[in-house]
Symmetry: C2
Subunit: 231 residues, 2 copies
């Protein structure tokens, strides 16, 4: 039985034929952070039935976006991870996330929060058109979710090839020893700053926004995360 297809010779619908199914992109989102076991994925995706999860993983494997890897004996048996082609979905996920950020104004309590997804969320908060031309490391301390390291890489790759913004930056959980900038605040404040609903100066004087590091780098980091640097 041929799977559903839009049957158009168009890049958008051909992409949707592969990844437009329900749960497919959320699964890829979770795999973006790193390899995951079946049960790890289930934990981060409540509401997704196990049969559907295995269906999706098999489909993704069949089209070459995901592969299974065996782990050495002491650890758990196998993990699912993205292939390079699967990682090519990162810009898609991030753009979707950037569209979705504006929907996050009210953290309804009917919506669950999963810490594993914070790195991807932080990446979507970043406005890549404000990335500085230089490299830098920003430690973002989300008071309600812990420390994360946001890294900005070079503008060009080997042989002078320009890099896409999404290839220039990444987020990993945990602190960094060599951060150029430290940024401390809560998730909600970060979101509200982005919407312009809060004044950064007020937050700083209220002790709810902490900024440290070289002023130029700090200012750049603020603009990347959606607000004007105070003072």
């Amino acid at each position: 039985m041929a799977p559903r297809s839009y049957r158009q010779f168009c890049p958008v619908t051909m992409a949707l034929d592969q990844v437009g199914g329900r749960w497919t992109l959320p699964i890829v989102r979770d795999l973006l952070v790193g390899p995951r076991r079946f049960t790890d994925l289930r934990r981060g995706l409540p509401g997704l039935a196990p049969n559907l999860l295995i269906d999706r993983l098999r489909e993704l494997e069949a089209i070459g976006l995901v592969e299974r890897a065996e782990l050495p004996p002491p650890a758990a048996r196998q993990v699912y991870r993205l292939t390079p082609r699967g990682r090519a979905l990162e810009p898609v996920i991030l753009e979707l996330g950037r569209f979705g950020v504006d929907l996050m104004d009210r953290p309804s309590d009917s919506l669950e929060i999963f810490p594993e997804q914070t790195p991807v969320a932080l990446l979507t908060f970043a406005r890549t058109e404000f990335l500085p031309p230089w490299e830098m490391v920003v430690q973002v301390d989300l008071t309600d979710r812990g420390p994360f390291t946001f890294s900005v890489g070079p503008t060009h790759g080997p042989e002078g090839i320009p890099l896409r913004p999404s290839d220039r930056c990444g987020v990993t959980p945990g602190p960094s020893q060599e951060a150029d900038v430290h940024l401390g605040l809560s998730t909600i404040h970060l979101l509200q700053l982005r919407q312009g609903a809060l004044d950064p100066t007020d937050l700083v004087s209220g002790g709810e926004l902490h900024l440290h590091g070289d002023p130029t780098a700090v200012a750049s980091a603020c603009r990347v995360f959606g607000f004007e640097p105070p003072d």
Copy 2:
């Protein structure tokens, strides 16, 4: 009767809650080019039943991504068009398309081709990380689909705000009087050049790729469309 939701406080899944339904993004894709009537949309989306189309349009209207507009008396009654918020989906569609371009290597005859979608397809072909810092107009003559005008705007908007690449460029059907660059070739050749499956120099000497205009601008246009400028 609440619609299906991923129920996560995550920008990606909240975006998918709005636009992750089947046919939703293809509808938005067609509206990106301009306002469309009900029947126009149907023509470009075969396989989409009319009841589902109206369902999707009503949903999109309810969440503020699409609005109905009445046309002046002589013309047809009403059209559907994107709101500014709906237009914010353009980067999502384009990234999906960029992922999908690599799937277009073989134009299977089970896949239909709709001329109305060519402007969006052309935009997805463009590698925005290669956009030059200057403004320019490129007329792309697809020998099998007609002329299109690809415009590159300024790097910064009013007040010095940097613009996202997708906000810097656009495609309209038809030729341009003030094109800086002319690029003539078939859709298939364009796709194959992008994949590196063809040598641009061969195509030029074979008369299947025509390039005109200021050499620097031509070279830039070639890189944007995925191949090294010949000579």
